[in-house]
């Protein structure tokens, strides 16, 4: 069998064994014994019809080869969707829609002293940015927990992590702490306690049965709700209304500085999760196989859980409880883009952000007067999806 032929040509015309030896030896400098081995095709072909070896491999070429390109395309298009969503979010509100004015403001042609400008800069911009950050965080939270727990139903809200953060945050509020870092630290503590509690209840190990995990999450969530109710009965002052509204998921009380602080916490976490996209893929092949490919599964899981809890608790402090966001966007994006986390992580950041901006728009526009808490919208969309996924998982 000729060694001179280019690997690709050999692949097409000759036996399987020639192709693997010719190519591999040159790359590995340690190929096998050079003896003429029986062609693999000869021993296998009676049973497996040797696949009609194509000249140059359309098989792989069509699939993962395009990962960098896919990341780019997905990021650009979802980035565009996010930008348009932000633009709409900035333009539409109680004063009607001012698409053109907002566009002019941002391109430097508008009147910076107008009422409109002040509404956009001081009220709407922090709000839509908070919506985008919260949407990205919660979507990523769902994505991460679905991967490391290998459970399609895992989601920060359902697992009780958001609830735990809320308890911590309320304790922080009652103690009169500032939102960052005091309240946020309490919320982080609360989220860590709940995730540990859920995992311990469900069976200690990180490879968990679907039902027991979700059941444990629901129980911890119920417990968190009653603790929150209890804490609320202790609150008798004027803050009660604010806390209640915040609990239902509220983006209206956002202030530019706090949104900046939140962004400063979240952006490094996003980058870290991007770096962990490949290990997340490998973990989906099972703990054993991931470990055999050099992934330290316990360490990776720990880092991912801690980082996600940190992001989620910081977000909960600012935006309250927004249920099911971490369920809707990862599943929708997975359906569209496939299971590769290297694509899904950026997609969840951008797409999740856009999703919550839209939910917030609906919350502002649907009622004739005033507005709905955005958590109501996310739950109305997400809960039916959860039930649908639960049904499918049962089958």
């Amino acid at each position: 069998m000729g060694r001179s032929g280019e690997a690709g040509e050999v692949m097409g015309k000759q036996g399987i064994d020639g192709e693997i030896r010719n190519g591999k030896e040159s790359e590995r400098h340690q190929g096998g014994p050079p003896g003429a081995a029986m062609p693999l095709s000869a021993s296998l072909s009676p049973r497996v019809p040797a696949s009609p070896c194509p000249p140059l491999s359309p098989s792989v070429a069509h699939h993962p080869k395009s990962v960098p390109r896919r990341i780019l395309v997905v990021s650009l298009s979802l980035g565009l969707v996010l930008l348009i969503s932000l633009w709409l979010g900035l333009s539409i509100g109680s004063t009607g829609q001012n698409l053109r004015e907002v566009f002019a403001l941002f391109t430097g042609h508008g009147d910076p002293a107008s009422t409109m400008a002040s509404i956009v800069w001081r009220i709407r911009l922090p709000r839509v940015l908070l919506a985008a950050l919260a949407g990205a965080t919660l979507s990523l939270g769902g994505l991460v927990f679905q991967a490391i727990l290998r459970n399609p139903l895992a989601e920060p809200y359902i697992l009780g992590i958001s609830g735990g953060s809320a308890i911590g945050a309320i304790i922080g509020i009652l103690l009169g702490l500032s939102r960052f870092p005091g309240e946020a630290l309490f919320a982080f503590g609360g989220s860590m306690v709940t995730i540990v509690l859920v995992l311990v209840i469900a069976s200690v190990k990180l490879s968990l049965k679907q039902d027991s995990l979700i059941l444990a999450g629901v129980m911890v969530n119920a417990f968190c709700s009653s603790v929150i109710m209890f804490l609320l009965t202790l609150t008798q002052d004027a803050r009660l209304h604010n806390i209640l509204f915040w609990l239902m998921g509220d983006l209206s009380m956002s202030d530019a500085n706090q949104v900046m602080v939140l962004a400063a916490i979240l952006l490094p976490c996003f980058v870290l999760l991007l770096l962990f996209a490949r290990p997340m893929n490998l973990i989906l092949l099972g703990e054993e196989m991931a470990a055999s490919m050099g992934v330290n599964v316990p360490l990776v899981s720990l880092v991912l859980v801690v980082v996600s809890s940190l992001m989620i608790s910081a977000t909960v402090c600012q935006s309250g409880l927004l249920g099911f966001v971490g369920l809707v966007t990862p599943h929708l994006l997975r359906l569209l883009l496939g299971p590769d986390h290297r694509v899904l992580v950026p997609a969840c950041i951008l797409g999740g952000g856009a999703y919550l901006v839209w939910c917030d728009l609906l919350a502002r526009c649907l009622p004739a007067q005033g507005e709905l808490p955005v958590g109501v919208i996310t739950a109305i969309i997400g809960a039916p999806l959860f039930i649908f996924l639960l049904q499918r998982a049962k089958r």
Binding site: G23, K24, P33, R47, R150, L285, M289, A291, G294, N296
Partner: protein, 277 residues
Amino acid sequence: MTSAMMLQHLSLLYGNRPVLNDVSFSVIEGEFFVIIGPNGSGKTTLVKAMSGAVRPQRGDVQILGRPLRGYSGKALAQCVAMVPQVAPVDIPFTVAEVVLMGRSPHLPWMGLEQRIDLEIAERAMHFTHVAHLAGRKLDHLSAGERQRVLIARAICQQPRILLLDEPTSALDLAHQVQIMDLLDQLRNDEGITVVVVSHDLNLAALYADRLLLMKEGGVVALGEPGEVLTFEILEDTYGCALLVDKNPVKGVPRITVVPGDAIVGGDMRLPQTFKVK
């Protein structure tokens, strides 16, 4: 003859239960090495210890002349690939994606595959005859196809040593032979050391250069099939009546079981009262 793996006085306990008891042997580079033994004899644990997945309490594992604990996870994965006995059933990726994941130990964290990685994956898929399945989802494949894909993924790691835990146990005859032929070919063509755990003594006898027979966490016998698969050793280890003669195909030992005479864990024959009439 250099040793690919050397195990010295390996002992391992799960809780208080000893699973491996002072196991010592070495696997020669380029060898087809098969580990056999009754259920619960510690075969799977042994392979896990060899792959670094579990850490023995006592003893040493040397891989390619270096102690196992001196390897980082990634460095180890570049030398040793593992095909576990059970993999999740609901792997959502396509065949090509799964095979390409075998390149991970050679790539940086987020690192995207280069052209060379794609070519290696392509060749691994052709080698294991799964190239035509490249775009299919893993959970839509038959058991034999799935096993070939998982082996292709392991080959993609370009390991020096390939460990497989019962790669043929879920397969029918034709697919068993197919997988074993594949491993044999891999050893011959690529010089990869192949270590297989198997329950099938006849299949093991046909392919193995050397066999390791285990019982209750210890080594019973180690050697060529003809030395290990003798009537005395097997009857003593498995505790059932059997017949050992020559395999007409290759002249290696052939084992035939005799029905109704197992004495595993006491007398398993039905008590008198259960007999029909």
